[in-house]
Amino acid sequence: MEVQEKDGITTITTDERLDAVVAPQLKDMVKKLAEEQKMKLIIDLAQTRFIDSSGCGALVASLRALLKNNGDMKIARPSPQAKTLFQLTRLHRVFEIFDDVEGARSSFKS
C-alpha cells in the first residue's frame, strides 16, 4: 500500500488484493492517520482487482475511525468486482464512491 499526502488530503493506494492478509495493516494505517489528525482520506482502489469481506470490514473500520474524529473517507476507482461486492453488502450506501481521484478530492472542498 502506498500513502501520499497533498493539500491536506491523504491518499492510500491499495495493492492488487484487499483481503484478510492486508486488512489489519489498512486498519492500523488509518488509525495512525486519525491519531495524527490527518482526517481527509481517499482510498484509491484502482490497483485492487480483488476485495473480500475482510477488506470491506477494514474499510468500514477506517470510515468509522475518521468519522469519530470529524474526518471523512472517500473511495475512488473501484474495480467491477469491488463494485459488485459493495452493492451485494449494501456498502455502496455507506461509502462515498467516485470514479476518479479528482472527484473524490473535490468532494472534500464542497
Partner: protein, 176 residues
C-alpha cells in the same frame, strides 16, 4: 452516493471465442466449455494465511483454464467464495496460533463445481450466524452470508471424529 463509471474498464473485455454452450448468465454470453467428466483435485495444506492468495489464484486459474472461460462474474464469485471459506477456517476453526490442516477438494464437472473443505478445528452452527445489519454495518461476520449469496448450495456438517466438512456447490447454467 453511488455512481456508474464513465470510463471503459480494462476488465470489460470481450468473451473469448470458443465452443460455448451459449447459455446466458445474467444476459451475458457464458462462453464456457462443458467438461465431459468430473475432474477432482485434492490438496492438503496447513491452515496458514500465507496460503490464502496462492490457493485462491490456483482455484481461479483452474476454473478459467478447465472451463476455458473468461466470464469475470463467475470467476469472481468462485474466487470470493473460496477466499471467504478458507479465511473462516483459518480464523474461526483454528483461532489460536497453533494452526491445523485443511483438506480441500475441488471437483469440476459438466454441470457444476464443488468445493469441499475439511478441517479438524472448532465447529460452528452456520444457522446461528447473525444476518448482516445493513443499516449499521460491522467490521466482520459477513463471510458466510456472502458465500451463500454467490454459491447455489452451502452445506456444513461435523462428524463424530471431530471433522468439520463444508461443501459448496456452484451450478453452471444448463447446456442447450
Amino acid at each position: 452516493m453511488w455512481r456508474e463509471p464513465d470510463r471503459p474498464s480494462s476488465r470489460d473485455r470481450k468473451q473469448k471465442e470458443g465452443p460455448t454452450k451459449g447459455s446466458p448468465l445474467n444476459d451475458r454470453p457464458l462462453g464456457y466449455t462443458s467438461m465431459e467428466k468430473d475432474i477432482t483435485i485434492r490438496i492438503e495444506a496447513p491452515a496458514d494465511i500465507v496460503l490464502l492468495r496462492p490457493l485462491d489464484i490456483l482455484v481461479r486459474n483452474l476454473v478459467e483454464q478447465l472451463l476455458r472461460t473468461s466470464h469475470d462474474k463467475l470467476l469472481d464469485e468462485l474466487e470470493l467464495a473460496f477466499n471467504e471459506a478458507y479465511t473462516n477456517i483459518y480464523r474461526h476453526a483454528y483461532p489460536s496460533e497453533d494452526k491445523g490442516k485443511i483438506s480441500l477438494e475441488i471437483r469440476i464437472g459438466p454441470n457444476e463445481l464443488e468445493f469441499r473443505f475439511e478441517d479438524e478445528g472448532l465447529n460452528f452452527d452456520p444457522e446461528r450466524v447473525a444476518p448482516p445489519d445493513f443499516e449499521n454495518p460491522g467490521e466482520g461476520g459477513l463471510g458466510v452470508w456472502i458465500i451463500r449469496q454467490v454459491m447455489d448450495e452451502y452445506d456444513y456438517s461435523s462428524d463424530d471424529k471431530g471433522r468439520n466438512i463444508l461443501r459448496l456447490i456452484k451450478r453452471f447454467p444448463a447446456a442447450e
